[in-house]
């Protein structure tokens, strides 16, 4: 490393991270923050010596990044993002490693800038739906930014799930792309064409617009499947591009789910954070008792209006217990949908109300991390 300022910045950042861990912090973003403060160009300087693979999208970033890292490890050492630290600091921190490959999860709004700084080999784009609208504002706004940056990055191969019209539009002008289709799926925000603004013509779960945007023409086809299935397949397309062997993942490996015992009861947690991930989780729900935990901190989305865009009908007949800082929003939402529920003051009270030995817990982002980590 010829750049003395960068070498110094890395040394300081690493020791700060080490010190922070000694006093009990997780220390995931601190080294990156210090590194960027001392050397603002650190990301591009460090990325120059690596093969960089970026993963972004509304849902499935963290688990898909893990899967891609597993696949790429067949080729050499991999440095990857700490759990959920997907802003510039997270990327900078991960890039300090000497590993040849960097597999990084990147926040949707930060993606264009990180692409510009790292000139990545591959960018994998999973999906774009409504999420944290207080920050993202509109889905179209995010895809417009991606569209511009994907067209700029002519050295990069963009892999995208084009059943999502926003992803299709994002990579429409990319020099190199692998357009993947899973036979189509309905998109909750796909009524207007992201490219031309016309009313998008949907036939079942496939769309085609007069401007030419369609999911019917793709480079790689898979059968329909759950979000976990799709993300595993997309991770393996990264492997195909890098000419490695595919890895067969269990679907549960690609879900943000974890089982933990609370007062003798097995609680199966699943991370749910926006209409798309709630709908996905609810469609797979089969336990007779369910706890729903809703918060509204920054990463959860500070507005809870989206609850009304999710159908909770599948919970009818189940024992539903609700808690969390915005539990009352959820309780009233279900009340209007005709789903009997009990509002508990906190998670301990909620789990005490569970009669059976096992319960499903669908938890908002911050609640998931507080309860299981």
């Amino acid at each position: 490393m010829a750049n003395p300022r960068l070498t110094f910045a890395i040394a300081v950042a690493k020791s700060a991270g080490f010190a922070s861990k000694l006093i009990g912090n997780k220390g995931e973003t601190l080294p990156g923050r210090i590194l960027l403060a001392l050397e603002p160009e650190a990301i591009s300087l460090l990325a120059a010596n690596k093969k960089v693979i970026l993963i972004s999208g509304t849902n499935g970033k963290t688990s898909t990044t893990k899967a891609v890292a597993t696949i790429v490890r067949q080729l050499g050492n991999v440095t990857t993002s700490g759990s959920g630290s997907n802003l510039s600091w997270g990327a900078a921190g991960a890039l300090m490693s000497r590993a040849k490959y960097a597999v990084l999860e990147i926040d949707e709004l930060h993606l264009p800038s990180i692409i510009a700084q790292t000139d990545p080999e591959i960018v994998l784009l999973l999906n774009l739906t409504r999420d944290q609208l207080h920050r993202m504002h509109e889905v179209k706004r995010v895809s417009d930014r991606w569209h511009v940056e994907c067209a700029e990055a002519s050295n990069t191969i963009f892999i995208g799930d084009i059943d999502d019209p926003y992803i299709n539009y994002s990579i429409a002008n990319a020099t190199n792309s692998v357009r993947v289709s899973f036979g189509g799926r309905v998109h909750p925000d796909g009524a207007a064409c992201p490219r031309c603004g016309s009313y998008l013509k949907w036939v079942g779960s496939n769309y085609s617009c007069s401007c030419g945007l369609t999911n019917k023409i793709s480079d790689r086809q898979f059968k329909k499947g759950s979000a976990a299935f799709r993300n595993a397949a997309l991770a393996n397309v990264v492997g195909e591009v890098l000419e490695t062997k595919p890895i067969k993942f269990k679907e549960t490996e690609l879900e943000r789910s974890i089982t933990k015992e609370f007062s003798g009861k097995k609680a199966h947690f699943r991370l749910t954070k926006n209409p798309a991930s709630w709908s996905e989780a609810l469609s797979a729900e089969h336990k007779s008792e369910v706890i729903l935990v809703l918060n509204s901190r920054q990463v959860d989305g500070i507005d809870t209006s989206w609850l009304w865009d999710v159908s909770f009908k599948s919970l009818k007949g189940k024992k539903v217990i609700i808690c969390g800082e915005r539990g009352m929003d959820m309780a009233y939402r279900l009340h209007v949908e005709g789903i009997t529920n009990t509002l508990a003051n906190n998670f301990d009270e909620a789990i005490a109300l569970v009669k059976k030995k096992e319960v499903s817990v669908l938890a908002a982002y911050t609640a998931f991390f507080e309860l299981v980590m």
Binding site: A192, G197, V336
Partner: protein, 229 residues
């Protein structure tokens, strides 16, 4: 039968506003009023004879599409001239005014409310509460828009802003003229403010409705009022 129409929800439903129809139907039932919610999509003909029409928030392209269909059919204008109740939120509120801008293009609006919307300097995002002379208690919601809406002389605001920004011009939110209500409040606004739902039901019925007792609804509204002040 009280006919409630949710207009173009696939386009005008970005911020959960579809819930306004669900809450209206729910409270109508509690008041002994039979009602039906019908979704009319962009490709369907909008009936002129419904009692309540609901429009929600949207992104620009969707807003322009919805407007073009409504301007062409004139069904909403016709229904309003016969006294129909309208609740239009955010992008929907802008559409029913005299003018608005979407994707840098100026549209003339349906002219149901004497308001003009132009792009504002900043996006206005966050919790909002209003002091409204239509209600004893304040209204609460969440706003997320960049339009700045100026009121003409033939409308009154829905309320005075206590917390947040509202129209982005003056200290007020929304506009009201006869049975037509426009606001920037999401939440959805009728879920957060049951008394607003009851006012719309009363206007649609043309007479006072049977008092509704829903403890959870009242508790929820009270809790949000206490949280946003």
């Amino acid at each position: 039968m009280l006919e409630i129409i949710r207009i173009h929800n696939e386009l005008m439903g970005t911020y959960g506003d579809r819930g306004n129809a669900d809450v209206l139907k729910f409270r109508a039932a509690m008041s002994g009023i039979r009602s039906r919610v019908t979704d009319i999509s962009f490709t369907q003909v909008l009936p002129r004879t419904a009692d309540v029409y609901l429009l929600g928030g949207a992104e620009d392209a969707a807003q322009a599409l919805s407007y073009s269909a409504l301007a062409k059919s004139k069904a909403l204008n016709s229904a309003v001239s016969k006294g129909a109740v309208v609740l239009a939120v955010c992008a929907g509120f802008q559409i029913i005014g005299n003018s608005f801008v979407a994707n840098d293009e100026k549209y003339s609006g349906l002219g149901l409310l004497d308001v003009n919307t132009s792009p504002g300097k900043n996006r206005l995002v966050g919790d909002i509460s209003l002091d409204s002379e239509f209600f004893d208690e304040s209204l609460t919601g969440f706003e997320n828009h960049s339009g700045a809406t100026t009121l003409g002389t033939s409308v009154m605001p829905l309320g005075k802003v206590i917390v947040g920004n509202g129209n982005g011009v003056g200290d007020v939110d929304g506009a009201v003229s006869g049975n037509v209500f426009g606001t920037y409040l999401h939440g959805p606004v009728l879920a957060r403010n049951p008394e607003f739902a009851d006012l719309l039901l009363e206007r649609a019925a043309g007479e006072p409705i049977k008092v509704i007792h829903d403890q959870l609804a009242d508790q929820y509204a009270k809790w949000r009022r206490a949280a946003i002040k």
